[in-house]
Amino acid sequence: MRKYVPKGNVQKKAYYTDRFHVVPRVPRNEVEDAHFASVVSVLKADIKESYMELGQLVIHIDNRSNFDVIKVLKEECGYTQCSEQSAVDYLAQDNEFELFWQMLNVNEAKRVRVVCRLPQGMAIDSIESLFKSANFAEREMFDMFGIKVNNHPFLKRILMPDDWEGHPLLKTYPLHGDEFASWYEVDKIFGKAYRDIIGPENRDPSKIDIEDTKRFSRVGYEVPFGGEYNSDTKEEIEYSDTFLVNYNKPKSKTLDERR
């Protein structure tokens, strides 16, 4: 018999779910390549899991051994460049981050991804003393996820302003910014006292405020910049499908030829 699932709140679910759909997985293969096999054997003690995924070696390690593993990769296996490092937010599922380091061996043209899981609130060791590229990359990771990095020379926000609150790439952070974000510029430029006068930042690009006479001009019933909006001043305007037809006709002048 099929497993019973409660059907109470069907409306709130996605309107299309194929109940027979099984999400396939990108194949994970055994490590066969001689170079990668030697990397795995050198790091045997630290590796929890290793496999090939789409042509690159992936090794899972413990979050306390990241510095040692990457040091061995650099000094013994010839991985002289750390192309990229960042994190993936799995807080909702496991209360953990998944961190990855993308390493490149320039001589062999091989790539290894070092992956570890880091529980929320824990700090990771910096690899800045091995790879200076980690200086910016770790700052970005801290900025975007709030992951603290030990032994980083200058762990400061990099893309967001220094006095920002919240970490934008967390899954809990709303796409359009949170409460703090909507008041950030008002608070910073004018002060909190001006919140009532200015209002929160509008993040809806299609919103048009008809009474706003500072940002929009209205054909036919123009008001001075910042002037009072008055619906009585409106003149009747005739539009064809696309063009304005009789805009203030008596005052307008038609040119015979192009000047």
Binding site: V26, E53, S83, K132, F136, L159, Y173
Partner: protein, 410 residues
């Protein structure tokens, strides 16, 4: 010491004279014309020498990675235009290739030819832009005008192909949307001749032996091979330091394994070496383009990969077959659902290694997308190579890194 402005000692936003030691802190950018967009560089100067440099970035941060998590895979593609907006197609391509790797599909032959053509054309556009702005920063106005003239022809070619000059979106996941228009190949051939001629007779003739140009560039911005690797330098920045690593050659994608081209390397490690490298790379690009033209003629006309689970079927099938229409409807309204897994795909963009890391959980949205932008790491490098140089060389060094802020801040 804090500045106390009064009528005699006015407050200068950019300058802070009153420090206890004898250094001066100046604020370079974000509106400085040589800041290549939105770079703010805080420089601590001892006389004219830089003691400390602090690149402050984030002025163009639009949260593109966050947007990627909230858009279906096809929706996100035009957003990648805004990364390195000088050579948009290379971003589109890098992203499309990463998704294709994840899906396990390959573009048909003609699409590959067109993509490789567009990539190389974009490389020329980007390199022309580099030489133009770099020369302008250093003070050679005329080179800027000549290089922008040729860049205009290249952008006309892009416009003929996809209708856009800057934000191309000329690549799709699984192929290309359009075939080349009539006469495009001939125009491209003429453009290749033009570029080859201009590189030799205009840019190099104006610059290579120019005394001022050489004095401004030679032994300026020296990066050792070890430092270049350590700081994550890629592309011309790495090859300019004597490391012969080009992803097109070492980890070939698209048609690069079939093409005959050289990887120019310079072991001078300075700005002049990098300038020579850029010039040579343009020649290699035209060489590649010339080889691609006959390949185009030989390929058959399919443009998009056949993978109806992920990519909409050709239009005649959608219009005639019910099942294809249903699949198309699901793909348009919900987006494709790639298999679970993660992928990191590096490509050689004109600036260096442009890679996309995509983590998929089987949803129509990427669970995490990380864009590995070469300029981001080249900006990080500035805090080291600027130290000890003179303020006049700062502009040269920023120019030679060829950073574009669309991809630094993302």
């Amino acid at each position: 010491m804090q500045q106390v402005p009064n009528k005699l000692t006015p407050f200068f936003e950019n300058l802070n004279f009153e420090r206890d030691d004898n250094t001066m802190v100046i604020n370079f950018g974000p509106q400085h014309p040589s800041a290549h967009g939105q770079l703010r560089l805080v420089l601590e100067l001892d006389g004219e020498q830089v003691v400390k440099a602090y690149p402050d970035i984030g002025y163009l941060h639009r949260g593109i990675e966050k947007m990627a998590e909230n858009m279906t895979y096809n929706e996100f593609l035009p957003t990648t235009d805004r990364l390195d907006y000088i050579a948009s197609t290379s971003n589109n391509y890098a992203y499309a290739l990463a998704v294709e790797k994840l899906l396990g599909i390959e573009a048909p032959r003609r699409a590959q030819v067109i993509r490789t053509m567009l990539l190389e054309l974009n490389r020329i556009i980007s390199h022309l832009f580099f030489i133009a702005t770099h020369a302008l920063d250093v003070g050679a106005m005329s080179v800027f005008l000549y290089a922008f003239r040729e860049r205009e022809y290249a952008m006309d070619l892009m416009e003929d192909y996809c209708g856009a000059r800057l934000t191309h979106s000329a690549v799709r996941i699984g192929g290309v949307p359009l075939d080349l228009p009539k006469g495009w190949i001939e125009n491209l051939a003429a453009f290749c001749d033009k570029v080859d001629h201009e590189v030799e007779h205009t840019y190099e003739a104006l610059l290579s032996q120019n005394r001022i140009w050489r004095m401004r560039l030679e032994d300026v911005g020296v990066i050792s091979a070890e430092d270049a690797l350590n700081w994550g330098c890629t592309g011309p920045m790495l090859r300019g330091s004597g490391v012969k690593y080009d992803i097109r050659k070492e980890e070939p994608y698209e048609l690069y394994s079939e093409l005959d081209f050289d990887i120019p390397v310079s072991d001078r490690c300075d700005s002049y070496g990098r300038y020579r490298l850029y010039m040579q790379e343009m020649r290699e690009s035209t060489k590649i383009l010339r080889q691609l033209m006959p390949m185009y003629a030989k390929s058959d006309s399919q443009l998009m990969a056949h993978a109806p689970q992920y990519i909409s079927a050709p239009k005649e099938q959608i219009m005639t077959q019910n099942y294809a229409l249903m699949q198309h409807f699901v793909l348009v309204t919900q987006g494709m659902r790639p298999p679970k897994g993660e992928v990191y795909v590096p490509t050689e963009s004109p600036k260096g290694e442009l890679g996309f890391y995509i983590k998929s959980e089987g949803e129509p949205y990427a669970y995490r997308l990380k864009c590995r932008a070469p300029s981001f790491f080249h900006t990080g490098l500035l805090q080291e190579i600027l130290v000890g140089t003179y303020i006049a060389d700062v502009v040269t060094i920023i120019g030679t890194t060829n950073i574009v802020f669309g991809e630094v801040d993302r």
